[in-house]
């Protein structure tokens, strides 16, 4: 089979081309077939349709174009997935050190020393990413077909979704930082479009804008990092940059200071995209988008781009211990901070959003302690179980006719068994119950946070507490949603139903992945072979080597795997997770009235946590208000009152001077003659005097 396509890597571009074809086709359908249907009938467009397509009942005959879209959009992604799988399979058959394939498509920007081509790079790191992106992406596309079936702007939705896939694949497959940046901004655009998909809702379009702008703040860092890289390395291609590190180190150009500057700037970009402190604020708001979007973009793929970037640049990061420390601390802080915010949220999607922020913090913690492989591993498992959880929550919302408040749910287990069971698996996975995907990846991170050169017991403790908190609020979610007495509105309760197969099948597949996904990386301590780590080894080798060259360090202690400490810590983390689950069980199953009492007992603390520590308000007051006020001042005071006042003042002066001097023109001829005479006197006088 593969021999027919003797070298699948020559068809790498197909991975991008399929989603792009989907973009074009869906775009045309949206424009030609769907647009006229969406126009208000009276031409002035006033109707009370609030936008929530999934809240609408009432089936009509499905128009043909919708069937076409429902086929094209997932189909294209599936095709890309197939190509991706074939490519990766071929990659596995190559020797480990040769596993970097670059396919150049066409020159993009060339100016002087700058030469950036549109080129794709397939190596172990990007292969993991494309498999996750296309795989999870395909499942979510299938799910979306069911979830968005009542949405009027069906084609437009898939147009955006395919565009997102295209951008995301550009991000991970691009062979240079600039191309990564293209995808980086592209996914930001799609995120903007999809969060604001129901643009008639003010909160949705505001959230979209916020996401884009906050991302831009991060991009600012990314851009500057690129400039630094270019002017010091003379190239933006990954392979060239990595190849040049040793020689530049040798010649003294690439100092620790420079590496720190580059990597810190890159990390600024990563905090924006991956919602880390201080730029995480957009992600919770991003839940305004349709739920599949939250699953795809704001859980499984886009938000992990920052982790991907850090992992991609690991060689540079390893040269900058200060940055590594920063990354680890920010990651750990985000993990615990976001987890604490998840405790009190009532909106089911917001809980998951904070959980995502928190889990991303884990990934950065991993990168920060030098365990890039562990970070990517967690990225992958997280993609499985978080996508599952989001899609599950979507299924719940679907069942609840659009209700997202967990306080109005309960006992759904009976009505939606598949959703319940799959979500339960996802929750177990994220809580770190042994045997499931989340356990392996999270444990790897915790262990490395403790044991690696860059790690410390403190980081481990923070991460472990965060893990416990995660277990607590995730089970709180499960208990509030699926167990206990029903708190649903009567009207809603009548319509509660399990979702269609197009939605439940992806759930089941993801549940399976959430269980098995971790088995790829069972650590040696547990008798596994940690195939995942080995697969990524070639990527991170360079970084370790560079770091050694820089510091002359004493080997990597992290490789000492058979440490009894590892088992102790593993047990501890499992215990912490179980403790969290136990508390959740006590508070929400045994004594359901207790949480409200606790909240009443500590009103200030509760308000603080419930309002997310007022960070949004702080930003609003400290930055946005200041900038806007200042801008108004600049406009009204500086522009109008100062510059224009000068301009108009000069004009007025000239005019009033003219007004005065014109009075010399008396109209009496004699006076004019007198002036002529005076002039003659002066001129003759000058001629004589001269």
């Amino acid at each position: 089979m593969v021999s027919a396509l003797s070298n699948i890597h020559e068809y790498l571009w197909l991975i991008l081309a399929f989603p792009l074809a989907g973009v074009v086709l869906n775009g045309i359908i949206a424009l030609v077939a769907e647009r006229p249907l969406l126009l208000p009938a009276d031409g002035h467009g006033h109707d009370d349709h609030g936008g929530h397509g999934d809240a609408h009942g009432g089936h009509h005959e499905t128009p043909a174009y919708r069937k076409l879209v429902a086929f094209i959009a997932p189909g294209m992604i599936f095709a890309a997935f197939v190509v991706a799988v074939l490519s990766v399979l071929q990659l596995t058959r190559m020797p480990a050190e040769a596993r970097t394939v670059v396919q150049t498509l066409f020159p993009w920007i060339q100016a002087g020393g700058l030469s950036v081509s549109v080129a794709l790079q397939l190596d172990p790191l990007s292969s993991v990413m494309i498999l996750v992106v296309t795989g999870v992406g395909f499942l979510i596309h299938v799910y979306s077909v069911g979830y968005m079936s009542h949405e009027p702007a069906f084609a437009r939705f898939f147009f955006y979704l395919n565009l997102f896939m295209f951008s995301m694949l550009t991000l991970v497959l691009g062979s240079s930082y600039l191309l990564m940046f293209v995808g980086w901004e592209g996914v930001g655009l799609c995120s903007y479009l999809l969060i604001g998909f129901w643009y008639e809702k003010d909160s949705a379009s505001t959230a979209g804008k916020k996401a884009f702008v906050v991302n831009r703040v991060g991009d600012f860092g990314f851009l500057l990092a690129m400039f630094l890289v270019f002017w010091n390395f003379g190239t933006l291609n990954y392979t060239d940059v990595m190849a040049k590190i040793p020689s530049l180190q040798h010649s003294g150009i690439l100092t620790t200071g420079l590496a720190t500057a580059i990597t810190l700037l890159m990390f600024v970009g990563a905090t924006g995209k991956s919602a880390q402190i201080p730029l995480y604020v957009w992600l919770p708001d991003a839940m305004e988008g349709p739920t599949p979007v939250s699953a795809l973009i704001h859980a499984a793929t886009m938000v992990t781009a920052g982790v991907y970037m850090v992992a991609r640049s690991n060689a540079l990061f390893m040269l900058a211990p200060f940055t590594m420390g920063t990354v680890a601390v920010i990651g750990a802080a985000t993990a615990i901070f976001a987890a604490s915010m998840g405790i009190c949220q009532k909106d089911i999607k917001r809980v998951l959003a904070y959980s995502t922020v928190s889990q991303l913090g884990y990934m950065f913690l991993a990168c920060g302690v030098g365990a890039f492989g562990a970070g990517i591993f967690h990225l992958m498992t997280h993609a499985f179980f978080k996508a599952l959880l989001f899609l599950g929550s979507g299924s719940v919302i679907h069942a609840m006719s659009g209700e997202q408040d967990m306080m109005k749910m309960g006992s759904l287990r009976k009505h939606t068994p598949i959703t319940f069971w799959t979500m339960f698996i996802g929750t177990l996975a994220i809580a770190g119950i042994p045997g499931l995907a989340g356990f392996f990846s999270k444990d790897e991170i915790l262990w490395r946070a403790f044991s690696s050169d860059h790690g410390s017991p403190f980081l481990w403790a923070v991460a472990a507490v965060a893990a416990g908190t995660t277990a607590f609020y995730m089970f709180r979610l499960i208990f509030l949603t699926f167990f206990g007495a029903s708190r649903m509105d009567k009207e809603v309760e009548k319509h509660v139903h399990e979702s269609p197969f197009s939605m439940t099948i992806p759930l089941m597949v993801l549940a399976a992945l959430s269980i098995c996904g971790g088995w790829l990386g069972i650590p040696a301590a547990l008798g596994g072979s940690n195939y995942f780590e080995k697969w990524l080894e070639p990527i991170f080798e360079g970084g370790h080597k560079a770091a050694e060259a820089a510091t002359e360090a004493i080997g990597h202690g992290a490789m000492a795997h058979h440490d009894p400490m590892e088992f102790i810590l593993m047990g501890a983390s499992v215990a912490v997770a179980l403790f969290g689950i136990a508390i959740a069980y006590y508070l929400y199953m045994v004594r359901p009235e207790k949480p409200a009492k606790i909240a009443e007992g500590n009103p200030n603390l509760y308000r603080l946590v419930y309002n997310k520590y007022f960070v949004d308000e702080l930003y609003e007051w400290l930055i946005i208000r200041r900038i806007v006020d200042w801008s108004i001042w600049l406009w009204q005071m500086f522009d109008v009152q100062f510059i224009d006042a000068i301009v108009n003042g000069v004009a007025k002066t000239v005019r009033s001077a003219g007004d005065e001097t014109r009075k010399i023109q008396t109209g009496v001829v004699g006076n004019y003659a007198f002036s002529i005479l005076l002039g003659a006197v002066f001129i003759v006088g000058y001629l004589i005097w001269r």
Binding site: G670, F674, L677, L678, A680, V681, V684, G685, L687, I688
Partner: protein, 162 residues
């Protein structure tokens, strides 16, 4: 001989000029102007510019001043409607400025000396005519256009109903 005659006619010319600018009655002023112009004609003769002297008498005394007198009689402004002219600072300034100009003119021309070439027949009818119809033919022809324009203009302007 020349200095005496020059002094005589120069004095008459200046005296006539002073009378022109000081008379209240325009008719007196016009007659004084004739006096001044005749004296200038005499000065022209002194400089052997006979042709110009003749023209001066014919054109100025015979045409221009007569035109003035015609106009004075034509519009015949009554005595009491003549402008009332009182000495003001402004007019004093005018006199001072003109005086300054005079002094400057004197300063400028006091050391003027002509080259010692023989005084040729530059003012005779023949010499002027020759120059006029050779070197300055074009200017002469243009003069005729100017006069034509003046005739037309004067006629149009003075017509009662335009």
């Amino acid at each position: 001989m020349e200095p005496i005659l020059f002094t005589l006619f120069g004095a008459i010319a200046v005296g006539g000029a002073l009378l022109v600018v000081t008379r209240k009655n325009p008719m007196s002023a016009a007659l004084s102007l004739i006096m001044s112009l005749f004296a200038v004609a005499a000065l022209f003769v002194l400089r052997q510019a006979h042709f110009l002297a003749a023209i001066q008498v014919i054109v100025y005394a015979g045409a221009v001043v007569v035109l003035f007198i015609f106009v004075i009689m034509l519009i015949n402004v009554p005595e009491n409607r003549l402008p009332i002219e009182k000495p003001t600072v402004y007019r004093l300034l005018g006199v001072v400025a003109a005086g300054l100009l005079m002094i400057e003119g004197g300063l400028a021309s006091r050391n003027f000396s002509a080259p010692a070439t023989a005084v040729g027949e530059v003012g005779s009818v023949e010499a002027v005519g020759h120059a006029l119809f050779t070197d300055y033919l074009f200017a002469f022809e243009v003069t005729s256009v100017l006069l034509l324009a003046a005739v037309v203009g004067a006629t149009v302007l003075a017509k009662k109903k335009i």
